[in-house]
Amino acid sequence: MKLEVADLSFSYEDQRVLSGIDLEVGEGELVGVLGPNGCGKTTLIKCINRILVPGGSVRFGGHDVARMGNTERARLFAYVPQALSVGMAMTVFESVLMGRRPHVRWGVGESDIGMVSAALERLKISHLAFRKVTKISGGERQKVVIARALVQDPSLLLLDEPTSALDIRHQLEVMQIIRSVVNQKGIGGLMAIHDLNLAGRYCDRVVVLHNGRVAGHGPPSGILTEDLIRTVYGVSARVGREDGYPLIVPLEPVGSE
């Protein structure tokens, strides 16, 4: 199923944050949302998930997301928020099990338990299963939240900077897992991300936001140019190639922002 966003706009009070956003995410496709702080990446993710209510149209699999019930939408979209607060002190296992909420009535069956164990294993956090989520490291928590999104068994993953709290090894691990889930299950992925090099390496396409509008949209190697980085981020950079992926080395701030 395909995500189609057309002419999406959003304002906080009377301050316009997003306008005229068009984008698509197909099956098996991972799309990165890039842009400086405050450009509306998080807002865009929340608008698609209807945590915020945007103008314009958001359709998934041909259906208007605005007309879906909460549970219906929760069966399709899994959301990995940016904030690393995990809420009350429950065990890692129970926290991940929560992803089954849109699918179960009340009781938890063998298959639900199996999915949780499998997700824990996939993210290499099985050994933490019965630790409290408040007692593990930030990187481990990020993996717990991603595991929860996986057991939600979604058709679209919405990720808000899933690697921001992680060291470089965990960044790569998490990106590889997201990439492989998207490929294997043929689901869509839309990910707000700061790290241009990770985006260039793992995303099929990137959407660059600048002042609430789309400043560039396409495959990373075509979009992530020295010019665009200078315009959007106000930073001079050298863009090379490594392994066929763009390699961005930021140099220094330019202009007055």
Partner: protein
Amino acid sequence: MEDERERIAGQYLRMQGKRLLFVAVLSFLIFLLAVGSTIIGSAGLTFGEVLSAVLAGIFPGTFSADPLAYTIVWDLRLHRVLFAVVAGFGLAVAGAIMQGVLRNPLASPFTLGIASAATFGAAIAIIFVPAALSGEISLVVSAFSMSALAAIAIYGLSRYRGVSAESMVLAGIILMYLFGAMTSFLQYTGTTEQLQAVVFWMFGSLQNTSWEKLALVTVVVGVATPLLVWRAWDLNALGMGDQVAQSLGVKVEQTRTLHMMVASLITASIICFTGTIGFIGLVSPHITRLAIGGDHRYLVVASGFVGALILLGADSLARTILAPQIIPVGIMTAFIGIPFFLYLFMRRREEYW
């Protein structure tokens, strides 16, 4: 790999088993205590006399009992014992719900103004209703309507700035102080007898229970609890934050409002008969969380059993410790509950909230 998955699944299932065992042990203890509590008292009845009185009440044709024992058991003790069980259960359930919905370990009917509103309602009835008309009814109705008003006010105030957990807690605390101040003012203007009556009401007591009141409270708790347990997933999801809960399909504001209203209704329907019995709604959920963890599918009911045990235990002690004097049960609940809580709190060092 397969082994690891099976180990984890097995451990989770054992955890579930432990939770069921906890509830089973509690219900057994409550049963024992209820039997004991029906037997003890200044009349000096024996187990046999009480048993035949109970049976004679249930199967009037088949069993017969000593008329005095029959009167003591059926007219004085049994409804009080059962009321303690149901009221303790209800107050603890309400506390568990409020703490869960507001993600706040200090939330309870008492920290959120529901109880101080009831006290204010009782004080109005005691002080303003002329003695000729002042019956229990005016007191009960006044206390109940004030707590209902408080619940609606909390909702209204927080609605004004978005029904978040923080704004509800804040609105509740403001109401608590407001009603507290108004009650103090009424006490200041009242006579010594009226003052005494208000203070006695604030202690909380099971002195005035009856079969009719028991029936009413049982219906409220009996209808509300299954509804709350049925929605337990929503409560679990809310524990992870509003946005995550919403992304898991929970209607956040609707759920928070519904749960707060139901918890307030339970509380109001109990304390309008008993006066303010504090502490149970606050501490029972904590004890339960320490013992079996925070999954509300189990926590809500298990907290109820803990609350029932504490209130019944407190009332049994209150009736016997200075017999024939009966101490108001509200004074005893803390004495009973705190050692229990401290034991778990000191023993379990890991974070549980």
